[in-house]
Symmetry: C2
Subunit: 351 residues, 2 copies
Amino acid sequence: MLTNRQLLILQLTVNDFIESAQPVGSRQLSKKPEAPFSPATIRNEMADLEELGYLEKTHTSSGRIPSDKGYRFYVDHLLTPEKLTVEDSVQLRSIFQDRVVETEELIRNSAKIISELTNYTAVLLGPDMSMHSVKRFSIVPLDETKAVAIIVTDNGHVENRVFDVPNGMRASDIEKMVNILNERLVGTPLSFLQNKLAREVKMIFDQHVHQAGDLFASFQRAMTIKPEERLYFGGKMNMMKQPEFHDFQKMKLFFEMMENGMPAMTFFQDDKQGIHVRIGSENNNNAIEDCSVITAKYAAGSNVTGAIAIIGPKRMDYGRVITMLDILSGDLSKALGKLSIGGDGLDRRKD
Amino acid sequence: MLTNRQLLILQLTVNDFIESAQPVGSRQLSKKPEAPFSPATIRNEMADLEELGYLEKTHTSSGRIPSDKGYRFYVDHLLTPEKLTVEDSVQLRSIFQDRVVETEELIRNSAKIISELTNYTAVLLGPDMSMHSVKRFSIVPLDETKAVAIIVTDNGHVENRVFDVPNGMRASDIEKMVNILNERLVGTPLSFLQNKLAREVKMIFDQHVHQAGDLFASFQRAMTIKPEERLYFGGKMNMMKQPEFHDFQKMKLFFEMMENGMPAMTFFQDDKQGIHVRIGSENNNNAIEDCSVITAKYAAGSNVTGAIAIIGPKRMDYGRVITMLDILSGDLSKALGKLSIGGDGLDRRKD
DNA sequence: ATTAGCACTCGCTTATAAAGAGTGCTAACA
DNA sequence: TGTTAGCACTCTTTATAAGCGAGTGCTAAT
């Protein structure tokens, strides 16, 4: 169990290191009014904290920096909840200020603003469309051999794909096809579309439409909704502002990971609700072993649909980011929850 | 006027530097079978070439590197047209191998493949949609206050926007609206859409549709097609492979420029046809003063519609890139030209 | 016209020293 | 007994110098 003075010194050390990015020495700390102890006393306490695994030295005679365990303790127990400045608050809310009607735009905007406000990199996982359902099908023939298939979902998202039409297909058949699709599939969640198409709609096609076989095959191929790119980035370059990343190799590793995108998904693997902090090695990814990732889920309605991740150096301003993510994920949930039933979904809380 | 031997030595110097990234010394060159001269002779020639501005030294006793003028001369006069290997050719063609039906996918694919083949960064300017015309409007109501407007163009591109619908709007009015839009605007090029909407369609709306004023305003706002993101990137990280960019500051400058995107448009400002090389300072952009940019236009039909840019170090493999861009821009033109009238638009040339 | 020879320049690496920041430990102190 | 002053020691950083090597320019010989 840590003594009060140890807690205080751990807290001050982490705070100082977060601010200065320099190993914290005993003399330096003793100058702070919050720590009215002599350097020697502080050295003793720091030695203990190091023995307990909360602090580290970069070399034998350096000041201390927090270990991952130290950060973890700091985040769990020593974080003073940060209040946003009025200005920050205004900025955060500006995401929702224009009449936003499209989900994608809202997400893109959120990624941009939150990365600017925090000065870290933001990755937003867009809402999962698979539970949204088909509102309307339509098919627009382009020429003798091609047509566009369009699906509008109940939240206003539009999927469209060009597909091949068998030669000599009649316009009336296309019309029949659209009618069948709308009759049978409106209200179907996107995730069931493939299945229902193959089981129920195929036979009806065969009965009513000429050249149904070829047409259906081509259409079905087009309807394969790829495990879509739902990742939006903001402030990719922000990591370069961090002094500990002013290093070509680290930078390269980081960007390569970001570019691949795949591992980015692993930020969101955890399906716990609420805000989640993963520090350094906890990320199990050596491209970001010097980074912390803070994630928050947001929801539309009752289904969990998306997530926000902020990636910064371990030495990041946890309090500020957590506060911001808390607000943003809440606002996003409300806005998206209401996006399909009108209104901008925000209560304008006073700060 | 340069002597033959000077031409030879300039060529060999540039070639060697392109390959090794190291200043080229006289001894080094004299070892090549193509240059059967003593180091001293080569030194004399190099001194002349330096005086003429084609070569430079990094310091008093270093070997020579090409100046911008040297590269320019090399590109204009000394480039031996490079033939692609069979493998490269196959790879390049692989862009078109799947039945590609959507423009955007084709462009995205091109950016990816060409950047992988060249190992440089690719920026593709997507085809200009503004001359494509409206094939079909449709509007899908989502709830009492919102609807999606969808425009399908003659090349199969789909634009969609959610817009506000005045409270209490009747379904029959929406239907009327769609009919009017289709009657009046099918065949209109996108670039004239705004104009025609305001001049011709507004009054017809007023006559036939209830609450036309509010509806029209909201619809018109939604139809504002933003000067769209037509930029596609490939191999953004490739610049990090170049030894001369293994430097944090340069890297930062480069990426910041790429991220802003805006200046990327300036790559394409030149509207000359054919392939265009801009070397170092010729780019008028100090973020890429150590880079060369090679651009090529591609076309669909008779209208110039898009462009490809490859960005690499000045020390780039000009011959190879030019050959590739030549092929790719041609293929792309054909594929896109035919994309709206069926077929994949490629003749499979034998290599 | 070409080339061998040589003195010279400059960058890069290695070695050495000095300065500075910080520690651990011991002993004195309240 | 907890706290602190003092001091020797460690390690990084910066500066300086020395030596090496690649390459040049110039001169004189071929």
